[in-house]
């Protein structure tokens, strides 16, 4: 054992080393089993329970192994955290899940950074390079996660402006901060020529600055990527802190979280046609280089004229197959209950109704699903993009509520626009499309949606989805 922290406690332990390591292995497996159970809706809840029990047992065996069970001063902190956590989980609204997850990412990062700081203090004069480098790395990553997450959560909660902020020389600043951080990690590990408080301050200040600079340039649509990445970092910080304090369970579980976050980030990147490497280098915002058409106004008028000739309520009369495409606009307007009522009405009239969800709909992965389920939509009716994309051409009507970029056909052919190459929902293949959107402005990407200009089979109903869907429902 290299760590002085461990030496102090491993001498008089109740649990022998082999038993302790076997228990750690079993608990790590239990966590993996819990995640495995998350692959089915039916078993997911048990999976979560298994993971929770595993973590609880992990705490207990650590307390026993390190002989800190009778150190009563640790319990008030646990009780306070427990109460705060439970209150937070009870009070949060489902639409606020992205900011809650962002906040928890940050809190996890902060805890790991503190743990790693303790490790670095105790190891600073020792020759244990591995311990010192990992401790330094965990301090830096944990602090980046904390400040990056606070900015992201602040944006999501609308405490600070949601607009992407790009500083002058943003990329240069990012690079300088990274170089300084790298240097501080190296000095933490190999050189002892700085006083500890100076080194720690440099790490904290520059990591905090990097976290802020990284997150301020993120706009709304890039949030899913950013949150997934910060999720990954919070796990990574824990795992690396685990190296520094030589805790096997911490390393194992932290690694699992880090890998999962990275995987989700990758999915989000693919769904938005973004490059993971770019994201990691801090290019967290889309450059709005989409060309705006100047002759938009008259074309829009034409669409409305067509719409006026046939009442959209007539369009859904007697249809057999309907696909509803909900976007974040629906969630913003709190229109999911109305959309469910619309689906129920259509079902009662003999149609099959399915929901099509784009991977980046909402502000975090899977957010739209949760909002629909909360509104009472059966999860069997909610389909992922790849599972339903072939069905649009056979559907009688596609109903879009508050979505734009994720169905913009420009993604297929408009080279040079930010959405080019991004997989989209094939709404345009449907013969009749009813669109409930706030306005006809381009979506977040800044690219005009050609569907709005289609001469036939498109009904655009502008306004707050809560009002327009309610109005539409009353006409059925």
């Amino acid at each position: 054992m290299n760590s002085s922290i461990l030496l102090q406690f491993s001498t008089a332990s109740l649990l022998s080393d082999p038993v302790y390591y076997i228990l750690c292995g079993v608990l790590a497996m239990a966590v993996l089993l819990g995640i495995h159970f998350m692959s089915k809706v039916e078993t997911a809840r048990q999976g979560n329970l298994i993971s929770a029990v595993a973590v609880a047992l992990g705490i207990v065996i650590t307390l026993i192994k390190k002989d800190i069970l009778p150190v009563w001063l640790i319990y008030p902190g646990m009780a306070i955290g427990l109460i705060f956590g439970l209150i937070l989980a009870k009070k949060v609204k489902m639409i606020q899940m992205p900011q809650l997850v962002a906040l928890l990412n940050g809190i996890g990062g902060a805890a790991s950074a503190i743990v790693a700081s303790f490790a670095l203090v105790s190891l600073y004069q020792s020759p244990d390079v591995f311990g010192k480098v990992t401790a330094s790395l965990a301090i830096v990553i944990g602090t980046i996660t904390l400040f990056g997450s606070l900015i992201a959560a602040g944006k999501l909660h609308k405490v600070i402006s949601q607009k992407p902020v790009v500083l002058p020389l943003h990329q240069v600043i990012t690079t300088i901060l990274l170089v300084v951080l790298l240097f501080s990690i190296v000095s933490g590990g190999f050189l002892n020529n700085f006083s500890f408080p100076v080194l720690l301050s440099v790490m904290l200040i520059f990591a905090a600055a990097f976290g802020v600079v990284f997150s301020v340039r993120v706009g709304g649509a890039d949030m899913p990527i950013t949150i997934s990445l910060l999720n990954s970092l919070s796990g990574l910080a824990a795992a690396i802190a685990g190296f520094a304090v030589t805790d096997i369970l911490l390393v194992a579980v932290g690694g699992i979280v880090g890998a999962s976050g990275l995987f989700l980030t990758q999915i989000m990147c693919k769904a938005m046609n973004r490059n993971l490497a770019d994201i990691l280098l801090g290019k967290t915002s889309v450059q709005g280089k989409g060309e705006s058409k100047t002759e938009k106004a008259p074309e829009v008028a034409a669409t409305e004229e067509v719409a006026a000739t046939v009442n959209p309520a007539e369009v859904v009369k007697g249809v057999k197959k309907v696909i509803i495409v909900p976007g974040y606009g629906m969630a913003l307007a709190h229109a999911q209950h109305l959309v469910k009522s619309l689906a129920q009405k259509l079902t009662a009239d003999g149609a099959t109704v399915k929901y099509a969800i784009h991977p980046v709909a909402g502000r975090m992965p899977g957010h739209m699903d949760v909002l629909l389920i909360e509104a009472g939509v059966p999860f069997e009716d909610v389909y992922e993009m790849d599972d339903i994309n072939e069905e649009f051409k056979d559907a009688d009507v596609a109903i879009v509520v508050g979505a734009n970029d994720v169905l913009n056909p420009a993604a297929r052919n408009a080279e040079g626009t930010p959405i080019y190459g991004m997989p989209i929902l094939n709404v345009d293949q449907c013969s009749k499309i009813i669109i409930f959107n706030y306005d006809l402005k381009p979506g977040y990407s800044g690219v005009d949606n050609p569907i709005y200009n289609r001469k036939e089979g498109v009904w655009v109903i502008q306004g707050d989805a809560k009002d327009t869907v309610a109005q539409f429902l009353s006409e059925l």
């Binding site: 922290i5 406690f9 956590g85 743990v115 999720n231 690694g255 389920i373 999860f379």
Partner: protein
């Protein structure tokens, strides 16, 4: 590096790879509960926080150590409790609403 550090590296790699493969099977409709569940798991850093706090209490500077150690314990515990509880709340919704709809 000593033996235990190599073992830790091995554990890290295996856990990451297996975790990555398992998460591949989680359907995208469960990605939000998956992420909040991961929040809870990242609170596992509480193990380090407990150890560090207990160590600090027997050190030469117990008060500072206790304050920061307790802060880490509180933060990590918020993650563990809040993460698991909110994940459970969401997953309960997935299960319950289905039954409700079947009854209709």
């Amino acid at each position: 590096m000593n033996l235990i550090q190599y073992i830790l590296l091995g554990v890290f790699v295996v856990a990451s790879v297996v975790g990555y493969l398992l998460i591949n099977n989680v359907p995208s409709r469960l990605h939000t509960p998956l992420m909040s569940g991961m929040n809870a798991l990242s609170g596992i850093t509480i193990l380090g926080a407990l150890l560090a706090t207990a160590t600090a209490l027997s050190s030469s500077n117990p008060v500072v150590g206790y304050v920061f150690g307790s802060l880490a314990i509180i933060l990590a515990m918020i993650n563990v409790a809040g993460g698991f509880a909110v994940t459970n709340r969401m997953l309960k919704m997935f299960g319950k609403k289905k039954e409700d709809n079947n009854e209709q």
